[in-house]
Symmetry: none
Subunit: 197 residues, 4 copies
DNA sequence: CATGAATGAGTGTTCATTCAT
DNA sequence: TATGAATGAACACTCATTCAT
């Protein structure tokens, strides 16, 4: 008589373990053994919940995106327009250890996505969502008169998100040059420029 | 007399093979065996020209940087200030297949650098150089009255280079959203904003 | 429930396989693949039971020492002084096939120990123990009036153990010259000389 | 038109290089590349003078024996009987760095000889010679009344040579226990015992 | 003869995956 | 379901050997 387990729950446990390892030790350290051990299970369990290792990594990426989105939703509650945008962008940049880990995970996946259609698809889906939110916030900020309106919101969104990713990877690779303070300052100034120029 | 080969030439052959693999199949696929095979040699040859695999990857990264620098030097000859800056930034962004390849390789190395001190060191050295050149061009453009002077050149340089890297990776990951045209337009507009705010 | 194996048992299987190979083909032939095959397993099994090859070799050496010690303990029970010493020394010399194997393994390890600190340490520990036992037996034999007392027991112990090792290696390398009978005779005579000079 | 070289001379150069490496870094470090480099030649030369690596090692062993024999012949000139024997035995024991190296080489070869008929044959030939010399010296010492005659010279020779080898290997493996002084003292005492003991 | 480029089997080790229990 | 034993291909690297020049 088989034990009744909650499949989705187990998957999440394993994926969380994978995320922890990737954040802590890098994507190379995320072997199936390490993941199983981190999750508190034996090697063999993984087979029951994932077709192969790639599926675990993919789920880890999705989970990471979901965590970010959840956190954001909470922070953004009650905020609108420019204030919400500011919060969103600041939350997408490695200003503390937790977000630095998330950025590291993201950057590690960028390289893999270039040669993995499945990963790429996940990245694209999430990126499109984020872009949509930013564009919407820009539009509502424009309607509220908080920012200038002489530029296409889609262009501004792309510029902001590119800057966020660029600054993020620079913070990881060149921390001496891009300190947390400087990163925050540069990002906030860019947001200010939406208003007056 | 034995067959005399040009060591530097062989190294470049091997490094080129490594670059091809990284671009085509990702940095994970760049095993010593795969590199040797791609270069048309047996496993053992690599020993003659490289101490270990890391040296090959490092050389591949350095070669990529050197190619970019060489090309840039040529393009920049005769240009100064803002015009030179514009050329430099446009050249650091994946607008054609060749530069897309270089960016892809770079992104692949970003992930690796997060867990490899040797690679990180190379990345940092090259990044510092680039930052220095951009800052210098900004200063001379400011002196020539081509751009506003109300912002610290170092901050502007960091913003521009972050934007370049952010747009580059977006171009690779989301080509449908960031077309070559759009990428060029966004970058040029950002440069224009240096002038009139 | 998976197949449960006794880890200690498996380790012993593998170590026994390693010992067989070393005895049969020399320590150089004891590759991880050869050991696994000799044990009847695939390459990968070794990881489950040993951290690395050194641990296997080390265990093989320790196992050999333990076997000798166990056998000796049994033989020595009830014996004291000179009689015990005689038994001990005779047991440390390749008089039959089993002990010849042990000596061969030991000699193989001598060479390795010269360049391997870990192996050397094991050799030293075991040698010190043996030296201590021999010295103790010499002292009690002296107290019992069984042997002369004009020589430092430590010196006598070293001489006896050096002779044991020298005769052992000669028995292996020059069996035509050092037959089992001759080896036994020479060793017993040396023990007799402890009594009457 | 081929260069005329002295084959025997080249062989000796290479063998000397091999010996230097084995003495300095152990028998495992004696790769063909290392030997060729130490000899000041390229990899390829070895083929002209040796069938394979085993032949080099064999020659190195023979050369080592020859060197010992040569040195001994010189030291023994003018000496006879017990004095000559004393000199011979002291010279076969690792009392200084040079002889320690030779002993290390010898011990390294012992292990290999157990599974290599060719090496074993060389060891046996040389051992028989040494045994013959020692026996002869014992006989002449006996005739000269320098030592007792109640023991078979062949047995005494075997005992002395076994002691020499045993003390030698103990000096290498347990230098803290068997110091050079102690080794010399133990050996000289054993020789003294030939007279009155 | 001498060179050194090139080979390819072999080394210890890692790891995703399979599967009997 | 869960276990963990077992597999075997793959990894980076080493090295004796071959051979065109």
């Amino acid at each position: 008589m088989p034990k009744i387990v909650n499949h989705e729950e187990r998957r999440e446990e394993v994926v969380a373990a994978a995320r922890r390892i990737i954040l802590r030790d890098g994507i190379e350290a995320a072997t199936t053994r390490a993941i199983a051990k981190e999750a508190g299970y034996s090697n063999g369990v993984l087979t029951h919940y994932f077709a192969d290792k790639d599926e675990i990594l993919l789920s880890a990426l999705e989970a990471s995106h979901r965590r970010i989105a959840d956190r954001l939703r909470e922070k953004l509650s009650g905020l609108t327009g420019l204030a919400a945008l500011r919060e969103l962008l600041l939350d997408n940049v490695p200003l503390d250890g937790e977000r630095a880990g998330e950025t590291g995970l993201e950057v590690g996946f960028w390289g893999r996505s270039l040669t993995s259609p499945a990963l790429l698809e996940v990245q694209r889906r999430e990126a499109a969502e984020l872009r949509y939110v930013v564009t919407s916030l820009l539009r509502s900020a424009a309607e509220a008169g908080e920012i200038r309106t002489d530029e296409d919101p889609e262009d501004v969104a792309e510029r902001l998100l590119a800057l966020v990713d660029g600054l993020s990877v620079h913070r990881l690779l060149y921390p001496a040059n891009v300190t947390a303070d400087r990163l925050e300052r540069l990002l906030l100034r860019e947001i200010d420029r939406l208003r007056d120029g």
